[in-house]
């Protein structure tokens, strides 16, 4: 039990911090204090990750698993949380908001994500997904006086509860089939159950729907654009990286680690869905003039690339992982940068001629966008490259062709933003931007990461290599 507790120390720290923030917010502390508490909490939690004992395999009687996968992902989730918190600090909130509660939710969402990625039991998976969802609904409509934000929250809620409900039904079927919800025991049982593929398939599909909803894979992606659009910028940025990464982590964990899906049809289904995701994401983004929606659809398309890698089985796993990590940084950077440059407007016109007024900002945003598009030698290129490698290695030439076509389409709309920044004349109205250190830190770290991983992808690859050893 002691070791169990020591395992979840980072989560406990987060919970403590969250509670402290809730209280501090309630007693009306100053904004700056809340910011500091939030950052400190995440930082302490991050450092406490080093103290997590490595010798135990599972804690809380199998509820959580302590392996390289979960360890890396928990660290990763904390990084995401840190970026989100920093971006939230730098963000100019347009209306009065409850900052204490806001950080409370962000930290609790982080806790849920950490539980999700280290879960060893279907119960934990369900609960953490549900917790993450509930918090997300609240965060999405955090501008409660804003119609768009509220609508986003409601839509997210309506879509999300159905997904998690269906997932729950799938889990119940798994329970019926195997008599257990422990992932490792399920794995053992599955071998016995080979004759009952259809029921298992039904369960798998329902569970898959729940994960795919988080990972925004077609046709479970429809909420993405509307929710990102309505949600506040930092929240949208958070959604685009945190829950999505968790969705993919769970897909990997459940469908690879425990091969819930029978591999014979997994590839087929996954390829079809990946293709659909790429097409729908890219083509929907094609005409967008709303940068936030554009980025939302682009994140759908990016999910498609990642999923295409996953469809290739184990060979694509590392590529997909690489992609997720890179994607997090470039997408976060893009969101943070647009939100900073466009001063909270999401129309593309707000970015007109920004290269004259803010050359560095325009440059950094271009880096993120081109990296998202996959231009070498930025990190996004390597991400796509490894995905393509795995696809071609598996001889899915057609899929590779489609991916490449989609990249072309994607180039169009990413470049459209870049074009607006560089080719157009600036707007006559001078916008004043508040540049805070936290924004700078977010932008700089993401930009560095994107460029560094572009020039020396080896470092990240070696790191991932440890994971898959």
């Amino acid at each position: 039990m002691n070791s169990s507790i020591s395992f979840i120390v980072p989560e406990i720290i987060l919970c403590t911090g969250a509670t402290a923030l809730l209280i501090a917010g309630a007693i009306g502390s100053r904004r700056r204090l809340l910011n500091i508490i939030a950052v400190m909490t995440v930082a302490i939690s991050f450092f406490s990750m080093f103290a997590v004992p490595g010798n135990i395999h599972s804690v809380f009687s199998g509820m959580l698993i302590n392996d390289a996968f979960s360890y890396v992902l928990r660290v990763f989730v904390l990084v995401v949380a840190m970026l989100s918190v920093l971006m939230s600090i730098g963000y100019t909130w347009p209306q009065e908001e409850d900052a204490g509660e806001y950080y409370f939710f962000i930290l609790l969402a982080t806790v849920s994500m950490m539980f999700a990625v280290s879960a060893g039991n279907m119960i934990m998976i369900y609960l953490s997904i549900e917790a993450l969802s509930i918090i997300s609904y609240i965060l999405a409509c955090y501008f409660k006086k804003d119609v768009l934000s509220t609508e986003a929250g409601v839509k997210y809620f309506l879509f999300g509860t159905l997904s998690t409900g269906l997932m729950l039904y799938g889990i119940s079927l798994v329970y019926g089939l195997t008599g257990t919800l422990d992932l490792e025991k399920i794995l053992i049982q599955l071998k016995v159950l080979e004759g009952y593929a259809p029921v298992l398939g039904l369960a798998a599909i329902l569970i898959f729907a729940g994960f795919a909803f988080k990972a925004s894979i077609v046709p479970f992606h429809v909420w993405v654009a509307d929710v990102y659009n309505g949600a506040p910028w930092p929240v949208a940025a958070f959604f685009s990286i945190g829950p999505k990464a968790v969705g993919f982590a769970l897909l990997i964990k459940v469908f690879f680690g425990y091969s819930l899906f029978l591999s014979s049809i997994w590839t087929g289904i996954a390829v079809i869905l990946a293709v659909a995701t790429m097409f729908v994401g890219n083509l929907s983004a094609f005409h967008q003039d709303n940068v936030k929606r554009l980025l939302a659809f682009s994140s759908v398309a990016q999910a498609g690339y990642i999923f295409a890698g996953l469809a290739m089985g184990l060979s694509g796993l590392k590529a997909a992982f690489f992609y997720i990590i890179i994607y997090t940084f470039m997408n976060m950077g893009a969101f943070a940068c647009v939100s900073y440059l466009a001063s909270d407007l999401s129309d593309i016109k707000a970015l007109r001629g920004i290269s004259r007024t803010s050359p560095a900002g325009a440059f950094i945003l271009s880096v993120f966008l081109l990296s998202l598009a996959g231009l070498p030698p930025l990190a996004g290129f390597w991400a796509k490259f490894f995905i393509l490698c795995s696809i071609i290695d598996a001889r899915h030439y057609f899929l590779a062709g489609i991916l490449v076509f989609n990249s072309c389409v994607a180039f169009f709309y990413y470049l459209k933003i870049v074009r607006t920044m560089y080719f157009d004349e600036p707007l006559s109205t001078v916008v004043s931007r508040k540049t805070s250190y936290s924004t700078l830190i977010v932008l700089a770290s993401c930009c560095l990461m994107v460029i560094e991983a572009g020039i020396f992808p080896r470092i990240l690859l070696d790191f991932l290599g440890l994971l898959f050893h």
Binding site: S61, E96, I123, I134, Y142, G153, Y196
Partner: protein, 162 residues
């Protein structure tokens, strides 16, 4: 005898569930839902899960349904019978849910359910309680976080500043 009871409960559950999504009045549908939930509670009793049955009645019928009714009251006028309650995709919706039902049924009935006839004599409440606080203590604690979050969320969103 027990077979009759089951079919009766099943009928109650099914019929009231269908009614709860088809009657025009939202208020009525909430009441039908209550009936469904109650029948399900009975089914739990029938399946030797008395504790769950009690929880079902307490939390659902007592808690959630009250909330529902409050919500229906708060959002006035929507109980009006004259308002269209179904959207434009009634028929596609019906079709696809019927299709889903058929196909899920077909798939599920191919399952190994006939093998599961061990019929354990009923699980002691103590076992459940102990499991909850030992083996499943983490989920159990986690639920409290979820509830806390939901509570705070409800306050944050629900409170109206003048």
């Amino acid at each position: 005898m027990s077979v009759v009871v089951f079919y009766f409960l099943a009928f109650c559950i099914g019929a009231s569930a269908v009614l709860s999504v088809t009657v025009r009045d939202v208020f009525h549908s909430a009441i039908w839902l209550t009936l469904t939930l109650l029948s399900i509670a009975c089914l739990y009793f029938y399946l030797d899960a008395g504790f769950l049955g009690v929880i079902q009645i307490l939390v659902y019928v007592g808690g959630i349904m009250t909330l529902f009714v409050f919500a229906i009251m708060l959002t006035a006028r929507i109980g009006d019978r004259s308002i269209q309650q179904t959207n434009r995709q009634l028929w596609p919706g019906l079709l696809i849910s019927a299709g889903a039902f058929t196909i899920m049924l077909k798939i599920i009935l191919s399952g190994p359910w006939a093998n599961l006839i061990t019929l354990n004599p009923g699980i002691d409440l103590k076992v459940v309680g102990r499991a909850l606080l030992t083996q499943y203590v983490l989920p159990f604690e986690f639920i409290s976080i979820i509830l806390l979050a939901a509570l705070v969320g409800a306050i944050v969103i629900g409170k109206v500043k003048e």
